[in-house]
């Protein structure tokens, strides 16, 4: 069952198209990563889904209700958008209580969420005295207040120390495993890779990929990095592999062969038969970061037009 469905969703700000005819479907349950370079339209998409801004054209539904009337689904959503926002002079508890009152939530729930994010012992301190990481935790606590079925978090680990990142990742995974849907927008691709089941990648407001993270990585494939003993053999080695039907890329001192780990022996044997001795042969898994940089055209920092995977999953 889809919890979010966008159909040709478009939002313009003057001449800038922040979200362009976006078709997106996010299934219920699990942790979903929303990734894209700066200015790709992630925050605009989140604001559209929360009813903070209106689409220029197209439509979207959350919990099967149109985003034109967010009152129908707002009580089922918790969100942290961009930086956590609080009244600095009020304590963490008072800040959350004021939000709890607005949602008709009990004060007991306030203490519960403070405990979940590890701020219960500091809850009477003014928010202005909090570190960036603590403010982030407070923001997550505010998002958790309504015990949401859908949690949307924009850069939730921003400012957290490594232990905090692991803790929040565990929290998000736990929420996802409970059957809730957690949408996480983050620049930390390693975090997305570690925490998410599915992924939506957008760039220039367009959807590049949507579907299981494992499928994307599998589709991008694995490769084997081979290093000839003599660097002048790099070109010959690459030609050799290409002739054998493998896609290969020559670099300064090594050749990358698009082949699974299981083909390592064949790759080594082919080099040996051609009289080339390999000084190293290592399987190389393609990371989400590699895929992201390739797909968004930022591989060489050129920010060119993105690569759209032909089989965008829904």
């Amino acid at each position: 069952m889809s919890i979010i469905r966008a159909d040709k969703l478009t939002r313009r700000f003057g001449d800038v198209v922040a979200v362009r005819e976006l078709d997106l479907e996010i299934a219920s349950g699990g942790v979903v990563g929303l990734v894209g370079p700066n200015g790709s339209g992630k925050s605009t998409l989140i604001r559209l889904l929360l009813g903070l801004i209106r689409p220029t054209s197209g439509s979207a539904r959350v919990f099967d209700s149109a985003i034109s009337d967010p009152r129908k689904y707002a009580p089922r959503i918790g969100a942290l958008i961009e930086n956590p926002a609080f009244i600095p002079s009020l304590s963490a508890r008072t800040n959350l209580r004021s939000l709890a009152r607005l949602r008709g939530i009990s004060n007991a729930r306030v203490d519960e969420v403070l405990d979940i994010v590890g701020l219960l012992n500091r809850s009477d301190e003014p928010a202005k005295d909090f570190s960036l990481g603590m403010k982030q935790r407070l923001g997550i606590a505010a998002a958790l207040l309504p015990d949401p079925e859908l949690l949307i978090l924009d850069e939730p680990t921003n400012g957290l120390d490594p232990a905090g990142i692991v803790e929040i990742r565990g929290l998000l995974r736990g929420l996802g495993d409970e059957g809730r849907t957690v949408v996480v927008s983050s620049h930390l691709l390693s975090e997305i890779e570690a925490a998410c089941d599915t992924l939506a990648m957008i760039c220039y407001g367009e959807l590049l990929y949507s579907g299981p993270l494992s499928d994307l990585i599998a589709r991008a494939g694995e490769c084997i990095e081979t290093v000839p003993e003599h660097p002048h053999d790099v070109g010959r080695l690459a030609e050799l592999y290409t002739a054998r039907g493998w896609q290969s890329t020559a670099d300064d001192d090594h050749v990358r062969v698009s082949a699974p780990d299981s083909a390592s022996a064949d790759v080594n044997r082919a080099a040996a038969e051609a009289g080339i001795t390999l000084s190293a042969l290592r399987p190389h898994s393609i990371s989400l970061e590699d895929i992201f940089l390739h797909m968004t055209g930022e591989e060489s920092g050129d920010s060119g037009r993105p690569t759209v995977y032909t089989e965008v999953q829904s």
Binding site: F86, I87, T94, S98, R101, L102
Partner: protein
């Protein structure tokens, strides 16, 4: 609506807001009272009094203790305008508006809660101001040599009437602050516009058009604080001010309802 009011009231417990709003209003009222009482003699002796139209007889009348506040009520209005404008603009500058609108997508309820909470806060601020002036002004009058014999007759009723008039007047300025804050989303700009309007525009309009004092909002608000003026009866002032207030509230509501939350 009750939830929105409770949320706003909790947020107004901010000590900076309480001290900056209630404290400033009370302190300014006492200062205005002292200035008017201490300069009234120079006015009658030929020098310029602090506030035009306030004479020794005015101060010695049964409601004389509030003459200072009524003479400088426009400045109290500006303080209230600033408070209301800041209550709106700080939501945008801090990004809180994202949380609030997400938690309560019915923006009219949110705005209504804010208006009610600010009204309660303003009523408390003017109560503190009225009590402070009532308590302190006899001492100031004594210091200035102004007779207070007439003040004791019907003191409670006089104080109550002054409180209601002052509260109505500053609430109207507050509504203007709400609108300007909503339109500009900048506290500084809102206060600048408020002061600029009061000090420059309304003064110029009054000089250029004789009838301007009968329909401009600042004049109407001040006439309410004084229980009526030479240009406007209290009833007329209330009607004119109510029209401005309703217009401002409708415009603020339409703006808030339609605006994108990009903060």
């Amino acid at each position: 609506m009750i939830r929105a009011i409770r949320c706003e009231l909790a947020r107004l417990k901010n000590p900076y807001f309480i001290l900056g709003g209630m404290g400033l209003m009370a302190a300014f009222s006492l200062m205005a009272t002292a200035i008017v009482f201490l300069t009234v003699e120079s006015g009658s002796a030929g020098g310029p009094p602090a506030t035009e139209g306030i004479t020794l007889q005015t101060l010695q009348a049964s409601d004389g203790m509030f003459a200072g506040v009524q003479g400088f009520v426009a400045m109290l209005g500006i303080i209230t305008l600033a408070m209301w404008a800041m209550a709106v603009t700080s939501d945008y500058s801090s990004g809180l508006i994202r949380l609030l609108v997400q938690a309560q997508p019915n923006r009219l309820l949110l705005l209504g809660g804010k208006v009610v909470a600010l009204t309660v806060f303003t009523c408390l601020a003017t109560l503190v101001t009225t009590v402070a002036v009532t308590v302190v002004s006899p001492g100031i009058a004594n210091l200035a040599g102004v007779s207070t014999d007439a003040w004791n007759s019907g003191l409670l009723g006089t104080a109550l009437a002054a409180y209601v008039q002052l509260t109505l007047c500053v609430l109207l300025w507050g509504v203007v602050g709400l609108l300007v804050g909503m339109l500009t989303r900048s506290a500084g700009l809102s206060i600048g516009i408020g002061i600029g309007y009061l000090m420059i525009f309304e003064g110029l309009a009054g000089m250029l058009f004789d009838s301007a004092q009968k329909w401009l909002p600042g004049s109407a608000f001040s006439a309410i604080a004084s229980g009526g003026s030479a240009d406007m009866t209290f009833g007329t002032a209330v009607l004119v001010a109510a029209a401005y207030a309703v217009g401002a509230l409708v415009l603020a509501a339409v703006t808030f309802r339609r605006r994108d939350i990009t903060a």
